[in-house]
Amino acid sequence: MSRHRDALRLAAGALDGPLGERDSRMLAAHLETCAACEVETELLTIDQDRIRSLAPRPLSAQTRVAVLADIRSTGASSSTRTWRVVPGVRQTNWLATGPSFLVLLAVLVALLVIVGIVASSRRLPPPVGPARAGMIASDLSGHIVVTDPMGQHPVQLTSGPVAVDSDPTWSPDGTRLAFIRQDQPTDVNAHLMVMNADGSAEHPIASIATVPVVTELYLPTTVPGAQLARGPLKVGPNRRVEWLDLAWSLDDRRIAFTASVDAKSSIFIADADGSGVVRISDPMIRGQHPTWAPDGRTIAFTSTAGGGRSGVYLIAPDGSGLRRVPESYRSIDPTLSFAQATWSPQGDRIAYAVVADGVPQVHISGIGGDSDVTVYAEPDAGMDSVPQWSPDGTRLAWIAATGQGGSGPIELANAEAAATVRSLPPLVQGEVVWAPDGSRVIAREEAPGWGAYRLVMIDVTTGVASAMQVSTGAAGGNDHGDGSWQRLAP
């Protein structure tokens, strides 16, 4: 290397800290005799100044709005936190204030009376939008368990000795839990169950073996001349029958669910009072994952039937008005694989996950299907998760399965202004469940040393994660299913 190049290397290094004595002398000696290198050294400094002086680039209006909203929304929640106790600050002695204490006491009594009256009227939360966070339900080793809003103090609600209970789902008003009960040990029957929030009044509202319409799932209904048989479904070891994906209507009166026979699925609706079950989607579409629109007039579901039939569909609860969104997918790729679609709380948009050309993506689509946009596309990720709206509809969260076993970080997007996507650090699986107040999410993570799953709660502001208490003792085991969060009146 030439002396000139060595000198420039030293000059460049000098910009990041003092050189050693020997190097300093060498550089100074060279610059005294080489005007060209002196100029180059000056240019190196000028380059640094030019970088520092790059013209400011104001953020776009939407990003500004999003960041400022983040700052201000966090501030609002912060100001409602419990007052801090300052050590050394003397407590005011209210007893010493005489009459003012009596006035305060009278006000307190009046408030208690008012609170009692309000409580006795049993306030219920709104069916959509933010609400107060109540109990968290999940299935733990075949039993339904609830914890407090912080994921602690679990209580086992079901204890059927010859059944496996799963998929607990809170009603929108937070008063009841629906779940699936699979008979054991033969798996010959399953029931859609409902019980009160405290585990009382547990009863089935539908059972696979006694719902004739389920048989239509595996009949060749589109073959000309085929006879439509009705009657008890014959199930057994070689026939896999599942009910799953429970979704309460927002008036708490009906439950939509997926019924699957030999992997052929369709959408059904059961009345929550047990008065009936109807199938609403064509078995050829292979519908699954139903979700109710906030207005209760439409159900969205997804299909992975292939052959150009995959997609996100909308249908009325009576089975009429079937259509697909977004329409653009009809002719593009018949092999698309869709995961569940979810409605925004405002009911004007649908978020869904899709794998296209092997790339998992998250989309948001207007109901008209003319504004389908990509929120996320990650070639290196799997996509077993469903994008879930925050209760206020401003954010979306899903799991990008970039790790082993389908685990990955929760990705968080600002759905309103499309400005921020960030990752919450713990590697989790399953579905993201928002707290009704939007402050936290829960998901499953692999429990260390157990080969089983536990629920983990993550603060969406700080990213701090905490494992929920994993065992009730009575239930035994540590294998949690996805959670469901009870909504309470604010």
Binding site: L8, A12, G13, L15, D16, G17, L43, L44, D47, Q48, I51, R52, L54, A55, P56, R57, P58, L59, S60, A61, Q62, T63, R64, A66, V67, D70, I71, R72, T74, G75, S79, W83, R84, V86, V89, R90, Q91, T92, Q361, G366, S371, V373, T374, V375, Y376, A377, E378, D380, A400, E411, N414, E416, A418, A419, T420, V421, R422, T461, T462, G463
Partner: protein, 188 residues
Amino acid sequence: MDEPAGVDSPVFAVKVVAASDDIEALLVATFEREQARLNAFAYAATHDTSAAEDAVAEAFARLVAEVRAGRTPDTIEAWLFRVCGNLILSRGRRTSVARRALGRLVDRGAARSPEDAAIERETDSELLAALGRLGRDARVALLLAAQGLSAAEVGGAIGRTPEATRTLLCRSRLKLRDELAHGEGFDR
């Protein structure tokens, strides 16, 4: 002499609320002061308007979380640049932030904003082009160093030792000089 207020007193409540408001005011002021420079830094590092804004937005989101958690950085400006640089590097291979068209769901009108128009008037194209021909690590290191961060601080942001960072910076400065010299039409 006045007695100190108890924690249940209205006076104390007002103080706490005021403290909360102060935090918000601090964050808003910091955002207004730094966002354009930080975005210029991020754009120079990424050459991608959307990716740059994502990194800037996330850097501020993390700052908000830190401040709310009572961990306000000693030097917020340096902290923002360091975190933003780290975010850009850690997302280098990812294309996950692909919401370029999401804005269509939000009614923002057809007219371009003054900010967008200003961005179009690129005045540093030569320097940006030269930076773009460097590796991503080198680019981010130079940009951070230009903000006054020490080699140790730059190294902390890009995941290298101070010694390795100084070597990287030295080589990058010479490479950048070569690139600019070619652009200026000089044979070296």
